[in-house]
Symmetry: C2
Subunit: 295 residues, 2 copies
DNA sequence: TATTGGTCATAGACGACATCTATAGCTCCT
DNA sequence: AGGAGCTATAGATGTCGTCTATGACCAATA
């Protein structure tokens, strides 16, 4: 007796019968036959022990009790219809949101064109960018605050799934003040005679290059330690030293000659960008579409 | 493609799965097995082309899309539950309304005890009384403003269904001033020497008695014509004349001697009270219960 | 480690019941 | 009187919702 809970499908039939004022028309609308509808209404009436419709030779009209029921069911039906529309919109990406985490520089130099074209193709999807360091982005992901993180590889975390996406190449660059180094190839030792500008300590690229020098026996101690890629570039342009930056992020400066790359006699390790998601966590439609576009 | 309209029953399953966070528990609540619930959810997901739940080893949690759907379905479910409760209440007569039409005097002298006991038994049912003349009451009924009319018979209207309920007897009464008539039997002619007080022209009782006198060849012209039974009584008590009233409505005055009945040498016709409803129109539960009580 | 107990997913069989066809009864309109 | 609506009813049919049985997975035990 606790949950009387009729079959909800009956309410759909009831709704249409009441709305159209005709069991036959309701049947048409539902792609059913009239007896089916008649039977469904009868089930409802029996379940309540109340008469819901007044049957006449030209259709049906609601009784008082039926009208009261209708006032509820109509609202309910509207909500369900909205829900279905909403779901369809999410499916078509006419609606929804895409929440991405990553570093500012990756957004700006790497993800921006994808975000642009995604937004152009799906203007209904609201895009949220959350920038932070790699551990912060991982935390965002685990808290469910973002759908997708864009970070440097490698990431080792059993809860996460990472897809390699794009290779970047870090390199040393300098500006006008060091033009004597333009067409030479330096050794590590020679490089270290110059002031070095590095990104802040906790960055992945900084750790990688420090380790590399260490493996050859050289300690890499920066003259300047800065907190953004833009500052790395600016410091180098002003001639304050040699910056270690991602080549793809300074392509413009390399083009216009305000910076040039310094070749070393040892190869520098490439760095992989990875798209990071929760393992075994379904993606939103928007997020998975975006992943496809980034490829 | 027009109306995507899923089987609503799936939403009930979805609701419980989301609410309990477990397909198994939802199954229990619905008296189903877990695979059934699993299948139902899959149907919904397939229909939308979206993943609604994130499955883990300890249950399910809503995805973003699922959460959005839930926000609609939860409301919808609440409405349906309320509707079902409301219907149960109407069935039990814990709620609802009873709308009766009739004349004031019938309400007061005939229907009141029934209304009282009905109200005592079903205090949740709101009672509306609409008084009016017989044609007005018929109109109320046809407009759907009342469920039930209480009127004098006969009623001839193919749209109406009338059940005879109670017999009343009209009679002539007078007060102290006419005590010489107390133990005599008058003829019609003798009666007409006294001032007569009648109810207003359009009443059924008035028409009946006028016709009766006419059939014997006597015109019945009242000295006073009043608009309520109370005035009929009051006028007679004050000695203004002889009132034609329903005997049952003056039982108290006949008891305490402030009025006495004048016997005629011709029998006066009894008048039937009828309960009138729309033919082929289902009654509300409250109305049909009330009809039973009135018997 | 293995074990146990919980989760959900899948496959296939079964049967309830939703739906259908056919028909009848009714009212209204031509 | 006949036709064109409407709904109700009865009984046949077959869909599809549900079940059983099983597997895979995970987490928390022993």
């Amino acid at each position: 007796m606790s949950s009387m809970t009729n079959n909800y499908e009956l309410y759909k039939v009831f709704y249409l019968a009441a709305k159209t004022g005709s069991l036959s028309q309701a049947a048409k609308a539902l792609y059913l036959t009239q007896p089916s509808v008649s039977h469904a209404i009868k089930q409802l009436e029996d379940s309540f022990g109340l008469v819901l419709f007044h049957r006449t030779s030209k259709g049906v009209t609601l009784t008082q009790e039926g009208a009261l029921l209708y006032s509820y069911i109509e609202q309910s039906h509207i909500l369900i219809t909205r829900a279905e529309e909403k779901m369809a919109a999410l499916k078509n990406l006419d609606d929804g949101e895409l929440r991405v985490g990553g570093s500012d520089s990756l957004f700006k130099h790497y993800l921006l064109p994808y975000l642009e074209s995604f937004h152009r193709q799906y203007p209904g999807v609201r895009i949220h960018l959350n920038h932070g360091t790699t551990p912060e982005v991982i935390a965002f992901l685990k808290e469910g605050r973002i759908d997708l993180g864009v970070v440097r590889m490698p990431i080792v975390d059993p809860q996460l799934q990472v897809r390699e996406s794009f290779q970047l190449q870090d390199c040393f660059v300098a500006g006008e003040g060091y033009s004597e180094l333009k067409n030479t190839e330096l050794s590590m030792e020679e490089l270290l005679h110059y002031p070095i500008i590095l990104f802040s300590r906790n960055s992945r690229a900084r750790m990688a290059i420090t380790e590399l020098f260490q493996s050859y026996g050289y300690p890499l101690k920066p003259e300047f330690e800065v907190g953004s890629v833009d500052l790395l570039i600016e410091f180098a342009r002003k001639g304050l030293g040699i910056s270690y930056v991602t080549r793809e992020f300074v392509s413009r400066e390399l083009e216009d000659g305000s910076l040039f790359e310094i070749r070393l006699d040892v190869p520098l390790p490439p760095s992989q960008v990875g798209l990071m998601t929760m393992r075994n966590m379904p993606l939103t439609n928007a997020a998975s579409r975006f992943m496809e576009m980034v490829g």
